[in-house]
Amino acid sequence: MILAIETSCDDTCAAVLDGDELLASVVSSQDSFHARYGGVVPEVASRHHLELINPVIGEAVSRSGTRLERMESIAVTTSPGLIGALLVGVATAKSIAAALECMLIPVNHLEGHIAANYLGPEPLEPPFICLIASGGHTSLVHVLSYDEYRVLGSTLDDAAGEALDKGARLLGLGYPGGAELDRLAAEGDRGFTRFPVGLDKPGNLDFSFSGVKTALYYYLRDAGKRNIELHRADIAASYQSAVVDALVSKLMAAAAQSGCGIVCLSGGVSANSELRRRLRSACEERGYRSRVPSPELCTDNAAMIASAARYKTALEFPDYLNLGAVAASGFAA
């Protein structure tokens, strides 16, 4: 039985996994706290994690119908993430493990996103290609086995979710605006105008979203109020389509290059309806198999950390007592 803790960004999460059965997963989202700042404020996130961490763990354990002392190991995200946020989770995980004298399993957050695919009624088995896209990351990974990865591409600037959120904000939608943008875009014509996305040369699997966001900024600046009011949904659809295009085309190119016909998504952007639709049709065209975990497993959660922990080395008491947290990590595990 594994208790997993995840606090790398703005959600305080805990989950209990027994074998491959997910007994409980609790996510206490901080979105409403950060909305008034228009983004995640690291110090605000750290303060909320500190308040919520024990109640969230308590809730996960009680929903799982078991007791804390029955845990065989504690899994925790140790990197990458906001350092002040990570240390709340790591300090909590270490102290609970030390009190129970059980094992501790450090987990990389991105491996967690990949491992979300191992949960659910039809767990995926490596090898496969996974696109992790959220407000914090954009990584294209060839998952060779449960503990062997090749990073094929990542973003050079903004994350995909960040690009969608920022576009939403430029269009006057709230924070986090990705979901709003998706809703508005559904009513629009994505062929209305074209926003160029960087690094679009065939064969390049890295992403760059700063240009498309700037293009939208200048478009809105020069388009005129009336034009914008009239075509808000069309502009939203065109912008979202540009970001989604980049994601899907590079995902397909990655599959073709590596000769692996199983592709999947993870991360909060997986909830984007345009992305899901385009991924499905692109895969149908090429005869690939696609898969997207359920929405609650795509956004940050601790169930995916528990899932990844099953394939990682557990540290014995007291070897993990000096464990730290790392803000940035080369994801080359």
């Binding site: 700042y37 228009g38 983004g39 995640v40 404020v41 690291p42 110090e43 605000v44 750290s46 303060r47 500190l50 308040e51 919520l52 961490i53 024990n54 109640p55 763990i57 308590g58 804390l68 002392e69 350092i83 002040g84 240390l87 709340v88 790591v90 300090a91 909590t92 995980a93 270490k94 102290s95 609970i96 030390a98 009190a99 129970l100 004298e101 960040e162 920022k166 700063s210 966001k213 700037t214 900024y217 007291p318 007592l321 000096n322 464990l323 730290g324 947290a325």
Partner: protein, 253 residues
């Protein structure tokens, strides 16, 4: 009752262990910014030297600042995790109270001014009055000040010289020298937060749980209350806001 006290508000990590009212040992570690890496190993070793283990703990006392945010969070979160897993009570005590208790024990002036480095060129402080018999009364709220204004703060709240100590005094020694209102402490031991003083302040020695909650040292947190045990931040988090927005809106530059 085997009780562990810990303070992580400053760069000096302080730990103490007491049983039935007797301080068994105290430990100070220069942690720099590595509180997360050093806290639990030191707790483990200190307990082992006493022939005990973490699971033997029966109560906890933790310094809740003010001090550096990440240091405080490591200490408080570690204590809360231990309390949640072991189902034992925690008492939160202000780091300034513990520091004042040490300074007051050195006798001398009635007025006690613990000073903790707040970084960014400021200090946290609070004025206390000592009755000379171990009882302390606060004469001000907890403040975040520029060191240059500390003498003025002292004369405003006390009608005699105040003995000032803490890592804030060490950090701004030159700026604080030469004021009649401030008697700076040179004793390194008194300038460090002592977890044994936390224990004293919490009046946990050998008392029952009921005794603890009746003390003036701090609230007792158990089970569902743990969320309420938070650092004394003093500062609002807004300082980070500009940095965040700059990072998020590069197209505006």
């Amino acid at each position: 009752m085997l009780t562990l006290a810990l303070d992580t508000a400053t760069e000096t990590l302080s730990l103490a262990l007491s049983a039935s009212g007797v301080i068994l040992c105290e430990r100070h570690v220069d942690a720099g910014r590595e509180h997360l890496e050093l806290l639990l190993p030191n707790i483990h070793v200190m307990l082992r030297e006493q022939g005990a283990g973490i699971a033997d703990l029966e109560a906890l006392v933790v310094g809740i600042g003010p001090g550096t945010f990440s240091g405080l969070r490591v200490g408080i979160v570690t204590a809360r995790g231990l309390a949640q897993a072991l189902e034992i009570p925690i008492v939160g005590v202000s780091t300034l109270d513990a520091l004042a208790r040490g300074l007051a024990a050195g006798a001398g002036p009635r007025f006690i001014l613990p000073v903790v480095d707040a970084r960014r060129g400021q200090v946290f402080t609070r004025m206390f009055e000592s009755d000379g018999h171990g009882s302390l009364r606060s004469l001000s709220g907890i403040e975040c000040l520029d060191p240059e204004t500390l003498a003025e703060f002292a004369s405003h709240h006390a009608d005699g010289p105040a003995v000032a100590g803490g890592n804030g005094v060490q950090a701004y020694y030159d700026a604080l020298t030469g004021f009649n209102e401030l008697q700076l402490t040179d004793d390194d031991a008194l300038n460090c937060v002592s977890a044994a003083r936390l224990l004293e302040q919490a009046s946990l020695h050998g008392e029952t749980k009921a005794g603890v909650s009746g003390s003036h040292g701090g609230n007792v947190f158990e089970g569902g209350d743990l969320a309420a045990l938070v650092p004394i931040y003093v500062r609002e988090p807004d300082a980070d806001k500009t940095a965040l927005l700059r990072k998020r809106e590069p197209w505006q530059t």
